[in-house]
């Protein structure tokens, strides 16, 4: 008796629900035009076969950036050996008033005049900013793909590469902005989860990751953190 009533109610609900948000005919032509326009405006995606190469280039670029930052921030060390004979030969303990001091001595053998510390800091900060923007763009692309591709797709390798870059940036003192560091820390967690997905509990883990992404508003924070244009490349 009760089942019968439930069945009848279910049937009524199914029928009545057809009027719920009843869709009008799809505006095919208008949407097609908008799609064409949208695709023309968007950059062409890379072939999936080139994806590993893209990440390899990304890692190489980050390493090159790290080396560049290291060289820029330590210019005085490279100049010290060339300058020392001219000063230490005179009086090692007391500087001669007419002689320039070690730090101020222009070295004829050096490549160029050392940039001021303010310039150096500014340059390395800009470089770090570019590297961070580039990395966040890659992570956003990855997370979008992660959310839309079939659950069976293997994302562990890509997640591992991005995780490495995230940790490199977190280790860099040049990424000083607190909000960016918090975002990178949250990304580190999610990427670590994806990189270590357990194949036997895959669906449970995927649910947890999806919940984590939603609760921390990671995608939105990522989009907000990426500079306009989001196509920064070193």
């Amino acid at each position: 008796m009760m089942d019968e009533r439930e069945d009848r109610l279910d049937e009524w609900v199914r029928d009545a629900a057809r009027d719920y948000n009843a869709p009008p005919p799809a505006p095919r032509a208008e949407m097609w035009e908008a799609i064409q326009a949208g695709r023309r405006a968007a950059p062409r995606p890379l072939s999936p076969f080139r994806t590993p190469l893209r990440y390899a280039i990304g890692i190489a670029a980050l390493l090159a950036l790290g080396i560049a930052i290291g060289r820029i921030t330590l210019p005085s060390r490279t100049e010290a050996p060339a300058a020392s004979p001219t000063t230490t030969a005179q009086t090692p303990t007391q500087p001669v008033p007419d002689q320039p001091t070690l730090t101020a001595t222009p070295n004829p053998g050096s490549r160029s005049p050392a940039p001021s510390s303010g310039d150096v800091r500014e340059r390395s900060e800009v470089a770090a900013l570019f590297a961070t923007g580039d990395h966040l763009t890659q992570v956003e692309t990855f997370l979008t793909e992660f959310g839309t591709r079939p659950p069976a797709t293997d994302f562990a390798g890509q997640a591992q590469d991005l995780l490495t870059n995230t940790r490199l940036l977190l280790d860099s003192k040049r990424v000083a902005d607190l909000r960016t560091r918090r975002l990178l820390e949250d990304l580190e967690l999610v990427l670590a989860q994806i990189a270590t997905l357990n194949p036997r509990q895959r669906s449970q883990d995927l649910d947890l990751i999806a919940d984590g992404l939603a609760q921390s508003h990671l995608r939105t924070r990522l989009r907000n953190a990426i500079p306009a244009g989001s196509a920064i490349r070193l």
Partner: protein, 180 residues
């Protein structure tokens, strides 16, 4: 035409094939998206976004699921992401309304049964609501729903059963009239 050969033609840059693929799937995608959001402008935006993404990522389609299911999965993801933004905007609007009690007088229970049903569907958890709309309203199979949402077929069945139970519960006061 076989979906795989259509995909191959699109990937080879055949513009007619792109249009053919769009024409084959757009109605189904738009219908589902419209059911989920109930707004023509948003539905069109989400449908466009779905196809832009689908064309951009078509090279990653490996035929593990039907092409229609693959596109549906993209559409649902686009809707979920888009609706999160819309919800946040609406939440801000609600906050403003709460700040000014004169602006939004509370309505009493709506006597219109269909409106009551619509409110009950809106009130379902998003997962239940999606499964209910896909299965009971748009006629997707549990297999298709499972593939599109990345869940097991059994989970889809369980969610549908819970959705129906919640709707029955919401409409309990009208059950006597409906059953007679």
């Amino acid at each position: 035409m076989e979906p795989t050969s259509l995909v191959a033609r699109v990937l080879a840059g055949d513009q007619d094939a792109e249009r053919e693929l769009y024409d084959s799937h757009v109605d189904r995608v738009y219908r589902l998206v419209y059911r989920m959001v109930g707004d023509g402008e948003l539905a069109a935006d989400y449908t466009q976004d779905t196809f832009i993404r689908a064309f951009d990522r078509l090279a990653t389609f490996r035929g593990e699921a039907a092409l229609s299911t693959w596109i549906t999965a993209i559409a649902i993801s686009v809707v979920y992401n888009g609706q999160r933004k819309v919800k946040r905007l609406r939440a801000r609007e609600v906050d403003l309304e709460h700040a000014d009690p004169v602006a939004a007088p509370a309505r009493e229970a709506d006597p219109d049964l269909k409106r009551k049903l619509a409110a009950a569907i809106e009130g379902l958890p998003v997962g239940y609501r999606t499964v209910f709309l896909m299965h009971d309203v748009e006629g997707y199979t549990h297999l298709e729903i499972g593939s599109a949402l990345g869940i097991q077929e059994g989970t889809s069945k369980a969610q549908l059963s819970r959705a129906r139970a919640k709707l029955r519960q919401q409409l309990a006061e009208y059950a006597g009239d409906l059953a007679s």
